[in-house]
Every structure is written in C-alpha cells, then in structure tokens.
Amino acid sequence: MFIGYFTERPYQDERTGFYGATGKPIMDLTVSNEMFDPILAAGLLNRYLDEKIYAEEMGFDGLMLNEHHNTAFCMGGAMNVEASILARITKRAKIVLLGNIIPIWDDPLWLVEQLSMIDMISHGRLVSGWVRGTGRESVSHNIEPHYNWERFQEAHEFIIKAWTTPGPFRWEGKHYNYRHVNPWAKPYQKPHPPIWLPGVVSRDSLMWAAEKRIPYIMLATELAPTKQAFQLYHDTAAEHGYESGPQNLGYLWKVHVDETEELAEATGRKYIQGPSNPFLEGNEGTVNPALVNLPGLTSRRRVLPTQAVATAARGGGGGVAGVLGRPYEQQIADYTIICGTPKTVIPKIRHVLEYIRPGSIFFWDGDGAMTHDDAMRSLRLMGEEVIPAVREIAKELELPGPFEVNPATGESIDPTPDEASQ
C-alpha cells in the first residue's frame, strides 16, 4: 500500500470575513484578488510546506500536491514551485503531483524541463500526474475548453516523446508545434517518471488511463460509485489484454485524527468551513453553473457513476454541473469524512479499503478552516498509530501499491534500498 498526504492549501484569512472559520459563501469568479494579502499568504505557503516535511517524518510514502487557478481554496497556482522545494528538502517520500493541468499550457516543452529538473533534484522521486482541469482553469489561462481533451492527449504524447526520444526532433501536431525539441534536462527515472491520473467525473479520462496502464486516483468521491468506476477500469484493462489490480487504483478522501473524540469532531467540522473546493464531492460552496458546464470541457454524455450520483441527488439533468455540499453528518455517515481518535478511525479506514480495494490512498487533512496545530496533531497521530495499522491491514487484504506491483505488467517490483538523495 502506498500512503500519501494531501491538503489543498486554502487561503485562510479571518479578517476579510470571506475565509477561515467565518464560512461566508464564495463563488468562482466573484471574488476579487484585491483582498489578497501576500504577507499573510507567505506564512501560509511556508506552513503548508512545513506540514509536508513533517508528513514525511511521520512515515507517509507520498506528498501530494495539486494545482488550481484564480481561486482561494488552493494556493498552489504554481505547484511545480512547491514540488521543487520539497525535492530538495525532503529525503525519501515521493513527490506526487496530481497534477499538472497539461491542456491549459501552450508550451508543454516548459513542463518537460520543469518536471525533469524536479525529478533530478529529488533523485528520482517524482510522480508526475496529469489533470484536465476544471472550468476555472480554462477560463483563467484562456485555453479553449472544447479542445481540452484533444490538447490533454497531444500534450501527453509530446511530453513522453520529449522525455524518451533523443533530440532534436520536430513536432507538428494539431495543437502544438515545435521546430526544435531538444531539452537540456531529462528525467532521472527511466524511461520517465510514473504518470498517474486523478479524476472525478470523466469516463473518457478513466478509460484512457486504463488503456495506457496508468494508475487512476479518484478524488473524494462517494464510495459506491467509486467502486463502480474502479470496476470500469478493471473491465477496460481486461479489454486491452491485461489484468489490473489495486496497484492501478487510488483513492483520496478526508481523514483527520485527533487526541479525543470531542476534539476530533470539533476539528473535523472545519473541513467544510472556509474556502474549500466546491468542485469535489462533499464540500460546501457555491458553484458557478456556467463554469462547471463550460462548453465542450467534459463530454456531457460520458460521465462516471460518481457524477451520475451527484446529478441524480440534485434532481437530475443539467449536464455536468457542479457538486453541491452535503452536511458534515452525512459525510461522516458515508465515510467520505473519517474523523476520530486512532482507535475509531482505523476500523473505518479498514472498511474503505475492504470495499473499494485501492493500492494507493491519500489522507486529505489540514483543510478548510483547520489550523497548523490541527494539522500537526493529526499528522503525529497518523505517524504513531494510524499508518502502521493501515499497512498491516493492507498486507492482510493484499492491496499492493504501484511501487510494489508494476501497474503495467502486474509483476512484483523488488524493493530497492533507499538511495542517498542528498
């Protein structure tokens, strides 16, 4: 089992009344950055890096970052900058980028160089995920939403070629054109860093990942439709002539551990306060219906069961619309938030692992209105009690991660001693 740590790095500012524990509703594209305070943000950015470094000390296998634009719920507008810092400071954990929003950049060659540098500086610890991005990403960097999927696929093919084929070569594609591809930076890992794909909604993306034997990570989706989506991955893999397993699938969800049940509940409720991501299942927030339904961004017909469930819950119809929040109690009841002391949390995590059988999991913590102290208490208890217990459960349930069993071949990977990565 591969165990990662994630937080979305919200911009918490109690003084504005919009953010933090005050919980005023926000909607995409309606909040001006006039109120953005770089001095406050400097503290937050360093806090989130410090928490990642501590997560490695506490035994996490992966430090996960994501990227959004033009929004207060995620400060990682240039995630590769954060990844670069972690590449130098941390020693052992994988740096898991889920992921770079490849369709929204007109120059994927710059990503080839950035990611190669991160992989070299970290001595080969980069996991390079791709995402298609939400409507706000297409709007913010003004890239055609109707070509999102075409650009995603072409950028992927281009980056892989630039990483693996000696230059110089020419690339004349539909969306990208280069006359001289010859980056003076190549990945440390051969043939290239692992590519993973996180997702929420798109059937096209999941099936593409399964076809390419790329691990797929479901982000904070409800358990039953997540299980259905995982089955679709396994079925697609079988159609393409290989047997996928837990090593091909991952799940990210909210897990917070605390010293007492009372403290855990009080802190857990902070998940849905503050500027949390309205796009992901279970967050409170007001979605901008035009943004989540940007023309051509996601096929209106080819959505996953996760999205169908969310749509049905709202009375159906309306295409790929946003996911509205559900009460804290309901999220606790359906395990999309797990919150408590180690003693009560571990059996619930076991239930999730038994039910959907992922090989990779990510605990999403320290978010919403949670403070640094909240995050650090949880990280310590995860390291001391939860992670060791989860590793035992995963062994018992036979849930190998993608660094134990090769997702492309199903073959066991010999453990290699940690490299000296100073």
Binding site: N142, E144, P145, H146, L294, P295, G296, G318
Partner: protein, 266 residues
C-alpha cells in the same frame, strides 16, 4: 401570423462534404439567414413576415443543430470558407445575406472572401470587431438563459421572449443550447468573438450594399463596434433602433422589418 398555415419546411441536405440542416420557406428572391451563437431559434414572426416576399434559407452552421460538425473547422474563417462551398452546393449565387450576432460576423467574413456571391448584406448586431469602447459580453461565463436575457432590453415588452427563453426550457431546448455553446466556443473562444483582421478586410465590400442594424442599448456587442462596421464598409448604413437590446429582429420586429424591407426593395 402565428395561426396561418406553415410555410416553411426543414430538411437535411448534403453540402460541402456533410449533412446540413436547412430550414427553407417562403416565396421570392432567396434570402440567406445566418443564425446567432445559440443556433436557429425556430420560425419567428420576422421570418414569417420576410417569407411573404423572399425565400428564406436558414441553414445550421457546422456542428449546430442537426448539421454534422466538420472537425477541421477551427475558427470563424474556416467556417466562412466552408459555408461558401455550402452555398455553391445549394446553388445559391448573387444571394441576399442576413446574419445575426455571431452569424453577422460570419456573414461579414464570407462577404470579404467572396463579395461577388452576395447581392445585399444585412448585419444585425454582428460580433467580429473588437469594440473601440466597451467589451463584448462573455457568453461563456453565464448559462444560456442568462445570456439570452442579457440580449433583450425589456423582456416584459417583448412578445416572443417566452418563445426564445421559456421559464422551463424543455430538455431538447437545453440540449440545443449546450450544443450551440460548444460550437460557438469553437468559433470564438480566443480572441473572444472577434478577428483582428476583419476591420481591414471589410474595405473590400465597397460595392456590396450593406445595412447594419443595431439596438441602441445592446448589452452584448457595444454599438461602438457598429460604428467601425459602418466606417469600414464604404456606402453602408448603420441604423440604430432606440430602446432595444441585442436582438432588434425579436425585440423591435416592426421597426426592424421596415428597415430590412426598404433596404432589400431599393
């Protein structure tokens, strides 16, 4: 007019390499109407009135309605070039041309490519020019219903408003809007709803009689863009209708028809 017998029909024709949805009706000299960014809204009062004197040809653009999308079309000028072949295949030459909003932009691009194909041109609140003052309203940052409402100055006084924007749109209508939004995006995402070369290319239209109609309170495409059209097409006329939004053909149908009929008959 609404109670008279239906004088239009809809068919799928083969043209320019694919199936094209074509609404056709009326009697007289052909008048080609290019629909706006949300597709053909159905047969409206102004269609019925013009069909008394003209044979209306209302195709759906590539990808809109039932017309098959030509995947190679990546911008408005690709669309314009493709459309000229559609006209060839429909046998339309020396034809009167009317375009509304995005369809007006398309009409202007087609005319600059092939002025001799057209007899007279009517542009109704056309996009296509970056307005010297103001900005073209971003249709992609609102849902379709909100966009339509923004285009009408006074919905309560507009009898056909509930036709083009019902309170409870049918699933079929919602689907038509969503398809249209995606296709409009393919034409106009960046630069948004304009082509920088168009104002210069318009100089070629000095021999094409042109009427530009604008609602004075147009909140979608600012009137200042209309002035650029008028200034760059020598001999053209800009007719501005008071107390009117982006769709004079719907909001001020009588005034609109009077202008158009006089222009076409002259």
């Amino acid at each position: 007019m609404a109670t008279s017998a239906q004088i239009w029909s809809e068919e799928i024709v083969e043209a320019a390499g694919g199936a094209v949805q074509l609404v056709k009706g009326g009697d007289g000299d052909p008048l080609l109407i290019l629909h706006d960014e949300l597709g053909h809204p159905g047969w409206l009062n102004y269609h019925q009135a013009l069909a008394q004197d003209y044979t209306l040809y209302i195709p759906s653009h590539s990808g809109f309605g039932e017309t098959v999308r030509q995947e190679w079309i990546m911008n408005i000028r690709d669309m314009a070039g493709w459309y000229l072949e559609v006209l060839d295949d429909l046998g339309l030459d020396r034809v009167n041309l009317m375009g509304i909003s995005l369809g007006g932009w398309l009409a202007a691009e087609m005319a600059t490519m092939s002025p001799q194909t057209f007899k007279k041109m009517i542009l109704v609140g056309p996009a296509g020019i970056r307005p010297p003052t103001g900005e073209i309203f971003d249709m992609f940052l609102v849902v379709a219903k909100e966009f339509i409402s923004k285009g009408i100055l006074d919905p309560d006084a507009t009898s056909e408003f509930s036709t083009i924007c019902p309170d409870e749109p049918t699933p079929e209508l919602v689907e038509r809007w969503e398809v249209a939004r995606e296709e409009a995006s393919r034409m106009s995402w960046r630069p948004y709803m304009h082509y920088p070369g168009l104002s210069h290319l318009l100089h070629r239209l000095k021999t094409l009689p042109t009427l530009v109609v604008w609602g004075k309170e147009d909140a979608i495409v600012p009137l200042s863009a209309g002035q650029v059209y008028q200034e760059n097409i020598k001999g053209s006329r800009l007719a501005v209708i008071d107390n009117c939004g982006h769709h004079p053909e719907i909001e001020k149908t009588e005034e609109f028809l009077q202008l158009v009929k006089e222009f076409l008959a002259a």
